[in-house]
Amino acid sequence: MHLNRWFSICFLVLLALSGSAQAHKSSGSYLTIDVAPQSTTGRLDIALRDLDFALGLDQDGNGELTWGEVRARHADIAELAKNHVGLKSDGAECHLEIGQQQIDEHSDGAYSVLPLVWQCPKAVQTLEINYTLFADIDPQHRGLFNLRFGEQSQTAVLGGDRPIQQFEINASTQSPALGGGQALLQFGLQGLWHIWIGFDHILFLLSLLLPSVLVYQSRRWVPAEDFRQGGVEVLKVVTAFTVAHSITLTLATLQWVVLPSRLVESTIAASVVLAALNNVWPLFQGQRWTVAFLFGLIHGFGFASVLTDLGLPSSALLVALFGFNLGVEVGQLAIVAVFLPLAWGLRSTAFYRRGVMTVGSLMIAALALVWLTERLFDVQLLVKLPIFGSYR
């Protein structure tokens, strides 16, 4: 006893003097609630370490939690969440159903992810949350709360001295703040902007358009005689590209088809390489609209990722989609409107046929090859200039 006391004094003295190095963040869970007109759903992430302290998950006591050990206690975990995360809509209790848990990693360890569905007596106007998770065993625990309704979102810290908090959800913000016309305009401008800063799309289109004022005869490019012929060629390429990317933009935005972004971005870069090289060593002469169509399909997925990143209003999805696509087309037409007269005027010069067609195309191909490598292997070769901003 005496020795024990002496040791504990020593120990504390030295603890006292080792400075107070707090090395972790305190315990926190993540609660997200989505309030929609018909439903209130959400997700609660609780740290497995906290659950272990509260419920003793580590059955065999070996210091490692297996999925089996966590899964076996699903009922207790769900019960804990039910008892300590209460929701009231306009004063009336909502009934909580908890789905099958999954696992997710946060920066400080693994969390149990619980899908939540509430049944509230009527559409939610005032939301009251009563959060007392771990309040009895760790008063420093907090819930990081994210409330989303329509386009709006709100964050708060739950627990501690304020277990009960209220949030107003007014009907006008639940439906999108944007009217149909406004959404059309806003997403139209976004589409315009993104074709403008999406250098890879511009270069793809230009590479296909460059030869449209020329004709390939006996292994060399000669100026076209007929403006109509060139115009029709441009029309075919632009239309094919537009139709194709409109199809996939729609499919991807509605999430009917989902492709990994790395595959999409890499293929877009490859399409630019191919289109540019075709101007130096023609492979698909007269078939450029087919190429525009095929690769246009992939470019549509690229546009879609931008649109998704913008955050789509679910209620005005189709308007947004239409507006965005319209913006892309307008941007494209603007490029063609500048390109065609210039190219037509210069088509007989050596500058155009050698400088632009050959050297220019090779430069485009080289640049696109760098992109391709970057995107395939997720490395960065070029200093990132804003103009090279691709869709990520």
Binding site: A16, L17, H24, W67
Partner: protein, 403 residues
């Protein structure tokens, strides 16, 4: 042909890979998959002791002795692991007395310790002073008072608290306490000699106490510019094989200052869990050009963000360093360092503020540190050199450097 196929397969694997690594809720493939490693195993002595204390406390949660004992055990765990979760557990045990003006001394002592760990220094001083007044022979109260006064740069009071320890605690602890004050008040060489002779006198001292002494000797040597000696002390402390977050952080900083980031990566490989050590890993990875640099940085950023959202302002010094060295957000780094220095005034806090002031070319903000350096006569090669750099800045140029 087959080589082309192989290439294509490799390519596809490469493209598909990020999908797998992407963090999203998932269902592990099998029950046997280990999803989390816990800091303690059930058989660990610490774990058993905590369970024993917890069971006793559960029987009688209103008993101040039992509550204080449990809270203290959690507190020690918080220090050893650097995990504030245990502070929360300690606070829960002290719940009946947490907001009471005059709790029983046994409870009040632990409350003061927990408060100081949460950087609530003025409240901690009130609790600890009151306990030491009621129980003048309480060595723990005096040692914590000394510690808090050191952090808040009140060296006269710190020395007094060390003196009061003399008849109560082990010789090495008392000498260590005084030597630490010496090292910050212009008598570093003297303090260092005192420490090393005390260590020689007590070869059988507890390893944890030896570790603490060696860490201090290393730090003082480093401040005196004797890097070779500092490294010897650091290595001797590490050789004791006692887990100590503070030692690892201090040695990592030493190595980073020496331009030896690769050694930090090896040293801390297993310790990314502690925020303070993850920061050093992120800094080292960047310096060494390690492929993990982005990953560490992202993780660190997420933890700071989560801590901030939680209203947790305990990491300002670290976050300032993170913002300045890795994010190049000099303005924010300066704001954090200034705010931190209002509460904590140790050498590392001073350094954070000097470095942030220099990055912002804002000598004015470094005034409190320069004042402290002049008053305390602290010896430190690094601090002196930074102070010279600050003084060399002609006029504040906020527009250019601080964005």
């Amino acid at each position: 042909m087959s080589s082309i196929r192989l290439f294509l397969v490799a390519l596809l694997a490469h493209i598909g890979w990020p999908l797998v690594a992407l963090a999203a809720p998932h269902t592990p493939a099998a029950d046997a998959v280990v999803v989390e490693k816990l800091p303690l195993r059930a058989q660990d002595p610490t774990s058993r002791e905590l369970n024993r204390l917890r069971a006793a406390w559960r029987q009688d949660p209103q008993n101040p002795e039992l509550a204080a004992e449990l809270a203290r055990a959690y507190f020690e765990q918080a220090v050893a692991e650097g995990d504030p979760r245990y502070l929360g557990y300690a606070q829960a045990a002290l719940k009946p007395w947490w907001s009471v003006t005059e709790p029983p001394p046994v409870v009040r002592l632990v409350r003061g310790m927990v408060l100081q760990f949460s950087h609530r220094f003025p409240e901690a001083i009130v609790d600890l002073t009151e306990v030491s007044r009621l129980e003048p022979n309480n060595a723990v109260a005096w040692s914590w008072l000394a510690a808090v006064y050191l952090v808040t740069a009140d060296y006269a009071k710190a020395r007094e608290a060390c003196d009061r320890l003399k008849p109560l605690a082990a010789d090495l602890a008392v000498v260590g306490c005084l030597a630490y004050v010496d090292s910050l008040t212009g008598r570093a060489q003297f303090g260092l000699e005192r420490l090393s002779s005390a260590l020689l006198r007590q070869p059988k001292a507890d390893p944890a106490l030896r570790l603490w002494t060696l860490t201090r000797m290393a730090e003082i040597s480093e401040r005196l510019g004797e890097n070779r000696l500092a490294e010897q002390h650091f290595r001797a402390a590490l050789a004791l094989d006692v887990r100590d977050t503070y030692l690892l952080a201090a040695f990592s900083d030493f190595l980073l200052d020496q331009g030896r980031p690769a050694e930090v990566l090896t040293l801390l490989k297993e310790f990314a869990r502690a925020d303070t050590l993850l920061l050093r890993l992120a800094l080292a990875a960047k310096d060494a050009g390690s492929p993990n640099a982005a990953k560490y940085q992202q993780e660190m950023r997420e933890r700071f963000d989560a801590a901030r959202r939680q209203g947790d302002a305990l990491h300002e010094k670290e976050e300032s360093r993170f913002a300045r060295s890795l994010l190049k957000e000099n303005q924010r780094a300066l704001a954090l360092a200034e705010s931190n220095y209002r509460i904590q005034r140790e050498a590392a806090d001073a350094r954070a503020l000097l470095e942030a002031s220099i990055a912002c070319r804002n000598p004015q903000s470094a005034e409190p540190v320069l004042e402290w350096m002049a008053q305390s006569r602290v010896e430190s090669v690094i601090l002196q050199s930074l102070a010279r750099q600050v003084r060399a800045i002609k006029a504040p140029d906020l527009t250019k450097a601080c964005t």
